[in-house]
């Protein structure tokens, strides 16, 4: 009889524990939570050179990693107060939805489906790219048309998987997908010749070629971009203040480049007569307070992380390991798509 009571008791305990742990996913005041925690939890790609990957010293390096730092700089005045959470493409959406990370800056293509059904909000894109193909140089493939009947290596659960289906169907071409989740295995399958082409966002392919192949010269990028992939930071729906904050951090980097404010000249620029520069650097107005931040929020971003051009060139500039033309990722005044809303 005692054993029955014991097992009943254990059952009740289990139920009570479940009730206690199954707390409501926090959708309220993200900024307060982050400030209280003392660091930003930022979801990033585990290893995408140029966007986010640990460097030789074990520090996270990449354009997306730097946007995590920019958000931390705006909140804490200290770009180092970030904890990077590496997420696979399967883990990323559950991670942001459940509150495991505060913001997702992880090669996420903003789409209508994700914006609505996933309960996300997308900040302005920080990188415009599209589907690209990496092929073996000795295969004789020069354009997408030469890939009819090819075997294509692709990662699962990405927009790329859909794009390839669409790209080939719309051209009346056939292909065989080989879908491998583990990036190392995926790239290895392509490099050893299991696949005729590797497809990813075009911006990710120089990194693959530089770091994952034995001889980068044996691989060429097919010309052209075959889909629209605006990569944007994502936050949960239901916290407008937090969404605004992430959005304006992105705009601040665009505006800083447009106004010519760099990490080096920011102090000097504080004395500028230009009201736009004054608003950006917090010497005029109370724009920081409106976002729930200090007035030198954007000053901290620029001095500690840099303006957009500085961030871009650090990871994709001609001197970097993965050089890539800025292409669409130039300011609107230069014919690109980066258009920072005015800080007014």
């Amino acid at each position: 009889m005692i054993s029955i009571y014991k097992s009943m008791l254990s059952c009740v305990t289990v139920a009570a524990t479940l009730a206690a742990t199954a707390a409501y996913a926090d959708s309220g005041d993200t900024l307060a939570t982050v400030k209280e925690r003392g660091e930003l939890l930022c979801g990033v790609h585990p290893a995408r050179h140029g966007f986010a990957a640990p460097d030789s010293q074990g520090n996270w390096a990449g354009l997306e990693a730097d946007f995590c730092r920019a958000i931390a700089a705006a909140i804490f005045g200290d770009a180092s107060k970030v904890r990077f959470v590496a997420l696979s493409s399967q883990q990323r959406f559950p991670a942001i939805q459940s509150g495991e990370v505060d913001v997702l800056v992880r090669n996420v293509t903003a789409t209508l489906g994700r914006d609505t059904a996933l309960g996300l909000n997308f900040a302005p894109p920080i990188f415009y790219t599209g589907t690209g193909f990496l092929v073996h140089a000795d295969s004789g493939v020069e354009t997408i048309k030469d890939l009819d009947g090819a075997t294509i290596c692709v990662a699962p659960g990405s927009t790329t998987e859909r794009n390839v289906a669409q790209i080939f169907a719309s051209r009346g071409m056939e292909y065989t997908p080989v879908v491998i989740e583990n990036n190392k295995q995926l790239v290895d399958a392509y490099v050893t010749g299991r696949c005729d082409a590797l497809t990813k966002d075009k911006a990710a392919l120089p990194g693959v070629r530089a770091y994952d192949t034995t001889d980068p010269k044996e691989h060429v990028l097919l010309p052209g971009i075959f889909s629209k992939e605006p990569l944007a930071p994502a936050v949960r729906q239901g916290d407008d203040q937090w969404y605004d904050l992430v959005k304006w951090v992105v705009y601040a980097t665009f505006n800083a480049e447009e106004l010519g404010v760099t990490a080096e000249n920011a102090d000097e620029m504080k004395g500028s007569n230009d009201v736009d520069i004054q608003s950006l650097l917090g010497t005029t107005g109370d724009y920081g307070a409106k976002l729930g931040l200090d007035e030198d929020w954007a000053y901290n971003i620029v001095t500690q992380v840099g303006n957009y051009a500085e961030i871009y060139n650090r990871h994709f500039g001609p001197e970097s390991a993965t050089p890539l033309d800025r292409d669409l990722n130039t300011l609107w005044v230069d014919g690109g798509l980066l258009y920072g809303f005015p800080i007014k």
């Binding site: 199954a22 090819a150 075997t151 080989v178 295995q185």
Partner: protein, 399 residues
Amino acid sequence: MSHLDESMQGGGRPRPTLGNFLYSKTFRTFAAQIVMAVIVLMAGLFLYRNIIDNLNAQNIATGFGFLEQDAQFDIGETAIRYDASDSYARAFLVGLLNTLIVSAAGIVLATVLGFAVGFARVSSNWLLSKVATGYVEIVRNIPVILQVIFWAVVLRNLPNARNAMDFYGLVFLTNRGLSFTVPSANPVHEIMGLAFAAGIVLAIIGSYLARRHREKTGKYIDMLWPSLGLIFGLPALVWLAGGAPTALSIPVLKGFNFKGGATISPEFTALLVGIALYASGFIAEIVRAGLQATPRGQVEAARSIGLKPRFVMRYVVLPQALRVIVPPLTSQYVSLMKNSSIAVIVGYPDLVNIGNTVMNQTGQAVEAIAVMMLVYLTISIVTSTLMNFYNRLVAIKER
């Protein structure tokens, strides 16, 4: 309630009053189980409500409506017709069939290998038994995921399509898989398949009748050759009757890949070989244990009355060994089937691989995982049930 009533009418018990009833062991046990069931149900309901409320609060889509939407992605290997305009439900079905195909092939391969190695382990041939022991220790003690990756890497490093290993112009081995010549599609093949199945059924019936005959009259009829004749002869007859079509579909290198013939992909092979070898190590040990569980004296007695070695095995050792072998074999089959989910690592489009993609396209993780769990649970239970049924056939009949 019937056992409650019975206990209350029990022989020398005091008159049933409410107090007695509440304190009776039967009632207590029964009540405890009810309470436990209610708690478990409520905990389940609570978790379910919690998930639904949370997802709704965050404006995340819920429900299984997405299954009817267009999948919009392609799958490399499909047993049924499928393209990107088919639904998510059909994509799941394709994945399920791929899981079943690799599991079934794995079970057959693991069983054949396992039994062979198990027999070799107890062989009196020193070299054979040591080689078998070495094999078991290797395949059993390396994690299955490493074995699968190992085979994937080995297969990937085979020559490319243009430098294919060519076997008489009929079979080609490349890092794109094994392409081999098959007879060109012909309606006769379907009838041959039916004839093959009919042959198996007839062979089973024949063996059963032969056994009945032996039990009645004591006369033994050897059904080995007649059975083989039925199983392979019937399809051969159908083939002859169908005009003996000999057209072949030979793989030819066209563009990137071999066209024509049939191709087994390296992903499938790597997964199959990895999970089957791993399971075969365990099965070999189970078989060895089963064989050694038969007392030596019985084997010696059987030999001394002049039974052929084949019959010693068939009528003395195996019937007793199977009783020991079948129950643990069942759990090996179930675990092999579950191991097939390692497919995600090498890129074989099994249920989990496709489920992952679906989960990511739709963002409905809870539903996609629920579908996968339900499917695995179902196939595991079906496998166990079938094996338990077989176990009842071979178990000692207690009457």
